[in-house]
């Protein structure tokens, strides 16, 4: 938290303009990442404040707290501080979720702290995000921490990246400073195969280019941060991919037997010939049911119940797919994992794997390497400690139908769980989740 950043000009927001009461706005999930003192809390506070998402009693509470701390005005960062333990210690200890709605979109923001030891939080926040905003301080430019955030976002398959070059006011709104940082970021992103990235010069402190366009940087004619957040396409990937319907449970009623689940990706239609994995049994979807009636077609991320033509053995943990688009069925596979627990992962560890709706026992056969997230180099390793990312070989107690994470986020991801105390040990991505561009070198 940037306690030194005090905004003396902040006033209570005018009553929000009436939102367009259209229920058909869409939803963007995004995450923020920044190093300590990049002004991330201030940026998020500014985004919430200027988009009129902060209601007056919240603002009053923050004003009161700011005064109690001896600040001159309102500390925007206090808008996003959650727990008293954090406020007392002046730290942010975990992912916090924020919500705001504009006339065009509902936003779910995973606000992740920037400390180097909190990789696990960024992995968590990025896992559900379609876009990540990475912050840098214009005075410092792209630092190792920026590369780390960029790599984690790329690793987690985040499609759209934004670099917010903050504190432009402290470099005199200088265009050449910005251009140099933008170029460095673009080449780093390109190496990681991230093609959709946007670099925006902002001052979270003064509000330039966060919600309202800056008047101090006439040389910049791109979108403000909020403009960009409102324009990025959402939800496209999920249904452009092959159909994947993990079965959660069987719904039984009089003369009724249906298989309930949420489509992880793709489109299914009534009449489709499908294969139930991992058994590989072929059948036909004869009905797609919802509480509101039968539908002819369903797509990700809808929750549905399907009826099948044949009386076959289908249950929780099975995956319904289309023929010729089957996932791999494996009993042993390589995966990239991020260690989330302070207990290290090593060869021989017995764990429980949770993959879609399937739970199996598994053994860590080997730890293959540790990923240096800054250089993307592979280092020899016997174990992976908290916040480390590396590659392991897993052996599972039964057949598992998996996709590579790079091809499907939900059928390519899994958790490793401690069989004894139940804690979540690691987040896993099937396959080499990051593919450095051939011939690419880190600048």
């Amino acid at each position: 938290m940037e306690t030194s950043e005090v905004n003396a000009t902040l006033t209570a927001p005018a009553p929000a303009e009436p939102l367009r009461l259209d229920r058909d706005i869409d939803m963007l999930r995004f995450a923020t990442a920044g190093s300590v003192d990049d002004g991330k809390s201030t940026l998020v506070g500014r985004l919430l404040h200027d988009s009129k998402s902060v209601l007056s009693d919240t603002l009053e509470a923050v004003e009161r707290a700011s005064r109690d701390r001896g600040a001159d005005g309102v500390e925007l960062a206090l808008l996003t501080d959650g727990l008293r333990a954090e406020r007392e210690q002046g730290i942010t200890i975990d992912v916090a979720y924020r919500y705001f709605t504009t006339t065009r979109r509902k936003f779910v923001l995973a606000d992740t702290p920037g400390h180097v030891q909190y990789t696990r939080n960024m992995v968590t926040g990025a896992s559900t995000a379609e876009l990540v905003v990475i912050l840098v301080d214009a005075r410092k430019g792209v630092v190792e921490q920026t590369r780390r955030h960029l790599a984690v976002a790329a690793l987690l398959g985040v499609r759209h990246l934004v670099l917010a070059v903050n504190k432009m006011d402290l470099v005199g709104f200088d265009e050449s400073t910005f251009t140099a940082i933008a170029a460095e970021f673009a080449s780093a992103a390109e190496v990681l195969g991230v093609t959709d990235h946007m670099v925006i010069p902002v001052s979270a402190q003064l509000g330039d280019n966060v919600v309202d366009a800056s008047t101090s940087m006439p040389w910049y004619d791109g979108p403000t941060l909020l403009d960009h957040l409102e324009a990025v396409p959402v939800g496209i990937d999920a249904w452009m991919q092959p159909a994947r319907l993990p079965i959660q449970l069987v719904v039984r009623a009089a003369d009724y037997r249906g298989y309930a689940g949420q489509l992880a990706s793709g489109v299914i239609e009534r009449g489709d010939v499908v294969v139930v994995m991992p058994a590989g049994v072929t059948t036909t979807i004869v009905g797609i049911d919802t509480f509101d009636g039968e539908v002819a077609l369903a797509h990700a991320p809808q929750s549905v119940t399907v009826r099948l033509a044949d009386d076959i053995d289908v249950g929780r943990g099975d995956l319904i797919v289309h023929p010729r688009q089957e996932p791999r069925v494996v009993r042993e596979f390589n995966a990239t994992i991020c260690q989330l627990s302070d207990r290290p992962m090593q060869a021989g560890d017995r764990v429980t794997i949770k993959h879609t709706t399937k739970v199996l026992k598994a053994i860590v056969d080997s730890v293959n390497y540790r990923l240096d997230i800054e250089t993307l180099g592979h280092e020899g390793a016997d174990s992976l400690a908290l916040n480390e990312i590396g590659n392991v070989t897993l052996r599972v107690a039964g057949p598992l139908a998996v996709d590579d994470y790079i091809d499907d986020r939900l059928t390519g991801s899994f958790l490793l769980i401690d069989e004894h105390d139940g804690q979540t040990l690691a987040a896993g991505l099937v396959g080499d989740a990051i593919r450095v561009k051939p011939g690419g070198e880190r600048p």
Partner: protein, 322 residues
């Protein structure tokens, strides 16, 4: 809409039509994204836990949760009971609504009564007459005595700062306590509900909903609510800037004058500390219009107990509150 030829050999990449070809039907509005997520969460709990229960106060969030549960298992009935933590200071309209819903959908209701605990001497009435903080003990006892291992709550992360870091699956120890540092990271849509005997997991299917989302969904689904959510005339008196309803719970004090006002409630809770707001919103559409321009958050407008201290909610959550 074009049909998708998924069976054509040669991979899917060149057979899947563009967004334009598929048309707007595949563009999922935010309320449907939230609904699908909520249904997924509720189904995960039923698949993985032995004895789930849904906390049902008759408040709009618990009503929406129940609606999602009915959708999740249709055409089968909701496969778990409801539990109401009854403070004894209830709005009669809400009690009537609760009983009617239980009857209509053929549900089982478990009641944990604060009044019973006071009558038994297990709990003592507070000097301010407020019973919200007294709900924790009957709630935890109700969970333990019924061996509930998963407890659905209607909490939303947008409600209050301490909730912004709450997990969808929130582990509680044997004492019902919530330790922010012991919560498990939640990635993708994978939930880890493992717990030791005696522990339970609070599950919040509406975590990602805002107050506006809830109201828009109520409108879209034509969900019935207790009548106190809509504008009506009521005898009220002012305390700490809020309109409270006179009643057997103890209000008003001698210095507090009763007035007839046109009000509605934004939340449903213990009568002694749930305030009404002045409003002429006669239907759900009016309420939505009001919320969209409101400058006071839901809890600030109507919950006296959250104003006690800046960290009031954090403290109560640690102790095992909802």
């Amino acid at each position: 809409m074009n049909s998708v030829d998924k069976s054509r050999p040669g991979g899917y990449a060149d057979t899947v039509p563009t967004a334009g070809e598929l048309g707007p039907a595949l563009h999922l509005p935010h309320l449907e994204v939230l609904e699908s997520e909520g249904i997924h969460i509720i189904r995960e709990v039923v698949a993985e836990f032995e004895r789930p229960v849904l906390l049902f106060s008759g408040g709009k969030d618990s009503v929406v949760m129940l609606h999602l549960a009915r959708k999740a298992f249709w055409p089968a009935p909701v496969p778990f009971p409801l539990m109401h933590v009854d403070t004894g200071h209830n709005f009669p309209e809400v009690m009537a609504y609760r009983d009617e819903v239980v009857q209509r959908f053929g549900l089982r209701l478990v009641v944990a009564s604060v009044q019973e605990y006071i009558d038994n001497g297990k709990l003592r009435e507070r000097s301010d007459g407020t019973r919200n903080p007294l709900q924790t003990v009957p709630l935890l006892d109700g969970i333990v005595s019924n061996k509930f291992d998963a407890v659905f709550g209607g909490g939303r992360r947008d409600e209050e700062k301490a909730r912004a870091k709450e997990r969808i699956f929130s582990l509680r120890d044997e004492f019902g306590q919530w330790d922010p540092r012991r919560q498990r990271p939640e990635l993708w849509n994978l939930y880890n509900g493992r717990h030791r005997p005696g522990e339970h997991v609070r599950v919040f299917p509406l975590s990602n909903w805002t107050e506006l989302d809830v109201w828009q969904y109520i409108e879209r689904e034509s969900i019935d609510l207790p009548s106190i959510y809509l504008s009506h005339e009521r005898d009220v008196f002012k305390r700490d800037g809020m309109w409270l309803t006179a009643g057997e719970w103890g209000g008003p004090r001698e210095t507090e004058a009763i007035e007839r006002r046109v009000v509605r409630y934004r939340t449903v809770g213990d009568m002694s500390c749930t305030g009404a707001v002045e409003s002429t919103a006669a239907d759900v559409a009016d309420v939505i219009a009001e919320i969209a321009v409101s400058t006071i958050t839901e809890r600030g407008a109507t919950r006296a107990d959250d104003k006690l201290s800046e960290a009031a909610m954090e403290d109560r959550k640690r102790e095992g509150y909802f």
